[in-house]
């Protein structure tokens, strides 16, 4: 009686383990198929990126961090990496921005990977924005 019950428990546990493994495998498969990096819209007609997409995905933080020191402190101009140029190529066709709407290039991916992007508090992330002074709505 005792022995049978023990056997019964072990079998149950085995069956549960099998279920768990299957469940995990299924989840991974679903994530792999439906998830992955979010679909960002790119506009190849505006020109090629600084590097291929895989390199850009991996290295763009480093590129930007290095360049900001070189431009601001060393006074380098005409550099390859410039935020304003990322914006001019990657701004959405409707929003003219890389951060204004949820589907805009930088924001879409950064929301997904949950990496806060604070550059556009200062850097202009929207094309064709006039200063308040020029459009006459200055404080």
């Amino acid at each position: 009686m005792v022995a049978r019950s023990r056997w019964h428990h072990a079998a149950l546990l085995r069956r549960w383990r099998a279920w768990l493994v299957t469940l995990c495998a299924l989840t991974i498969a679903v994530v792999a198929l439906a998830g992955g990096p979010p679909q960002v819209t790119v506009y190849p007609e505006r020109g090629p990126c600084l590097a291929d997409a895989a390199t850009m995905r991996r290295d763009h933080p480093k590129m930007l961090h290095e360049q900001k020191h070189r431009t601001v402190v060393l006074g380098e101009r005409g550099a390859r990496v410039q935020l304003a140029q990322c914006v001019s190529c990657h701004a959405g066709a409707q929003s003219h921005s890389v951060v204004a709407s949820e589907r805009d290039f930088c924001r879409a991916c950064h929301d997904y990977v949950a990496v806060k992007l604070d550059c556009f508090h200062c850097h202009q992330g929207t094309l064709g924005t006039q200063s308040a002074w020029r459009s006459g709505e200055g404080r």
């Binding site: 006074g75 380098e76 101009r77 005409g78 508090h121 200062c122 308040a132 020029r134 404080r139």
Partner: protein
């Protein structure tokens, strides 16, 4: 030897060095014969960095400065102030909390009633107190003497605002959305006159200088004895404001 020099030394080979020396001599010759101020400023003010052709850096052989001739400045004119706000995307100042990188100052002698009007801004000191007090190194002096805030490292403590004897630093209190792409700026940072660094690096003069209708403002390289500004400073014996502080400002005044 400053940071800029040591950095370059590591990067460039002997061939690059001689090529750069050749380029520099050609550039200086071109600058000397050219009448166009733009070409002159660019060739002298920047060195070609070896790592990437066409990328230039601020050079320690230059000391950018301004000469403000108060005898030519009209009390009723604020063209330089408007030009600064337009160039840098600053809202027009309405209250005392609004950002000002340049302001008109009027001095009045109570005895004679005589008035003097002139613009004042960051004096781009050689020994800037704002740099001394900055806890993060964000307030710094570029190789060519321009004093800036590196807003990537500024934590907004405002020590520099207090330390500056010329009251030239501002703090951005409100969110900004209307920046110009070439002049990023935003809430929570100290900022001040950049001597229009984005224009100067392209060989142009600062917006206030370009806008002055009476020629009261002169921009150039104080280190170059043949530059218009150096000659004029000598001629007029133009001195900085509060020269007793011995900060060696790059902005000099005449007739104040």
């Amino acid at each position: 030897m400053n940071r800029n020099d040591s950095c370059r030394d590591r990067e460039i080979s002997e061939t690059d060095r001689s090529r750069r020396a050749f380029l520099a001599s050609v550039a200086t010759a071109m600058g000397a014969v050219s009448l166009a101020p733009g070409i002159f400023l660019m060739s002298v003010g920047h060195e070609v960095a070896a790592a990437d052709e066409g990328v230039r850096r601020a050079s320690a052989s230059v000391r950018w400065g301004l000469l403000i001739d108060a005898t030519r400045c009209r009390a009723d004119c604020d063209a330089c102030v408007l030009a600064c706000h337009q160039e840098n995307g600053l809202p027009l100042p309405q209250s005392s909390a609004d950002v000002r990188w340049i302001r008109k100052v009027t001095l009045r002698d109570p005895k004679s009633g005589a008035e003097r009007s002139f613009p004042a801004m960051c004096m781009h000191c050689a020994h800037p107190p704002c740099v001394d007090v900055c806890p993060t190194g964000a307030s710094f002096k570029r190789a060519d003497g321009i004093v800036l805030v590196n807003r990537h490292t500024c934590i907004g403590c405002r020590y520099c605002v207090m330390a500056c004897p010329y009251k030239a630093r501002n703090f951005v209190h409100a969110p900004v959305t209307t920046q110009k792409p070439e002049v990023p700026r935003g809430m929570g940072c100290a900022e001040g006159c950049t001597l229009c660094v984005h224009r100067v690096d392209q060989g142009k003069e600062p917006a206030c200088v370009a806008a002055c209708p009476t020629g009261a403002l002169l921009f150039g390289d104080l280190n170059d004895p043949h530059s218009a500004i150096a000659q004029r400073v000598r001629e007029l014996n133009a001195r900085p404001l509060r020269s007793d502080l011995k900060l060696d400002p790059g902005v000099r005044f005449f007739g104040v």
